[in-house]
């Protein structure tokens, strides 16, 4: 049971060269896999390929295979994929439907599309809003939210579909530090409470350090470094791959560069 990419290579329609791959990747339920990389390293493409949206919805050519719980993603219809893999895009503005009057109804858009009973729609909406911590926004007009609030509502909207896997493309890109922590905590809760597998693309490596079990650093569409989050995020090659290490790693390096004993400094700081 997992999202599995095996030698996956994807080329957008009309493009001569692949934007992603070949790549092997596995996202298991309850695990959080973080993805980072420089601009145009294939992060967003990985999201749409792993979720099955590419090539099913936007065309293009996929070589290798993408399997979700053992089923070839190419054989699943978009609404079936939606219930398996929740996909959150970078910009809340394009994620929201813009046809609803309140955040509550916006979050209900997905469950309503499934034709669920009203009582279940209501239950899912409150659950999604609660997990993300934006219940207070329920009565607000989605068109009048700030970028960060919109991003949180979009995340709640994806959660309301109760997918088995979540694929998130820079979910904190429009958030302030407090909002970033809010989303990181929400994702950690989702992974722990629902057992969802999460693939999260994130520039803010502090977020990855907080929630990811494994991290993959992409470079020109292929994994350059991958493995346990703590190991990858401390890898000295990160900077040359266009990724800033987490603050803790940078601090440790500064301390060591200053000729100080990191273990002693850490013990003193946390005492």
């Amino acid at each position: 049971m997992a999202i599995e990419l095996v030698s996956a290579r994807y080329r957008y329609a009309g493009s001569a060269s692949p934007a992603l791959g070949p790549i092997d990747l596995r996202v298991e339920p309850g695990r959080v896999v973080g993805v980072a990389g420089a601009n145009e390293s294939g992060k967003t493409t990985l999201c749409v390929v792993a979720s099955g949206v590419a090539p099913a919805v936007i065309g293009g050519r996929l070589d290798g295979s993408v399997r979700i719980d053992g089923v070839d993603a190419a054989t699943l219809r978009p609404h079936e994929l939606a219930q398996l893999c929740g996909l959150l895009f970078q910009h809340a503005n394009t994620q929201l439907s813009h046809t609803t009057a309140t955040v509550f109804e916006e979050v209900a858009f997905g469950p309503c599309n499934l034709g669920l009973p009203v009582s279940e729609v209501v239950e899912r909406v409150w659950w999604g809003l609660r997990v993300v911590g934006v219940e207070a926004l329920a009565s607000r007009d989605p068109a009048r939210l700030s970028g960060g609030q919109g991003q949180l509502v979009a995340l709640a909207s994806v959660l309301a579909l109760r997918p088995k896997y979540l694929i998130l493309d820079e979910p904190t890109s429009e958030l302030d530090p407090a909002g970033t922590v809010q989303v990181a905590d929400a994702l950690a809760r989702v992974a722990a409470e629902s057992g969802a597998g999460i693939l999260v693309v994130e520039h803010k490596t502090d977020v990855l350090a907080r929630i990811a079990d494994e991290v993959v650093i992409l470079d020109r569409g292929v994994p350059a470094v991958s493995g346990r989050a703590t190991d990858v995020l401390a890898d000295p090659r990160l900077a040359e791959l266009g990724v800033e290490p987490p603050a803790a790693v940078r601090l440790e390096r500064e301390v060591r560069a200053g000729g100080l004993d990191w273990s002693a400094a850490l013990a003193k700081a946390t005492a």
Partner: protein
Amino acid sequence: MTASSATPGAAPLAAPGAAPLAAPLATDMGLPDYVVRRPKGFYHSLNPATKLALAALEVVAAFAIPGWLGPGPVLAVLVATALASRTMRSLLLIGLAALPLVVSIMVVNLFLLPGASDPIGRLGPLAPTWSGLWFGLLTTARLLAFSSAVALAYVTTPVDDLLADLSRRGLGRRGVFVVGAAVQMVPRTIERVGEIMDAQRARGMDTEGRIWRRARGLVPLAAPVVFGALAEVEERTMALESRAFTAPGRQTLLRVPPDRSIDRALRWLALAGVVAIAALRLTGRLG
């Protein structure tokens, strides 16, 4: 594996392919008040289709009945309805948008109505005429009747009420979405134009001063607005698909505007009115 069986910890989902006979409606009120939103007042509580039918009758009457017998009573009814439904202010604001058109209608007819030979006086080479004034006022009244009828339906009908009603009447979810997106597009486009204009101004674009300079300033807006909207389409499509937009079966409707017997009666009356006016007009009995 079906998608529904793959969703953990949730009640069974709608089985793909098994379309329910009717859309589930929100008869169970686990819904918050701001979602149920009970309309206040008689006109607000009319079904959206009824308001559209009444608007259609008013427009047909204003244009098809000759002279002031058409637009005069229609405008009176619209003003009375707007006062009763407390929407007069909104209607006036929308009416202001028609002001440039009204001015141009008046100017053109006042000075250039073909065949008019009853001058009010002379303004240099121009001679405004009584018949031009009369025709301009009549045309303006018709225009105001048209815009007010549509505006009244618009300001008293939440967009999602209209969409829910269309959905209940069998318009597919794609059709409903297209209508909803089109209605919402106007304010969003205005907002986007404002943002782009601010950005262009910050980069030195001159949008103040004489009218030709302002008009010239609009040119750099066109490309970002149009291409920006087109660029969004792909991501929006993916986002909709990832929210099960194309799931089979009918959507759950959280709230559906009531369709009472008074609504049905008013719609039949409106339809009969339109047919009667059209018939009288076509047979020449309206003059």
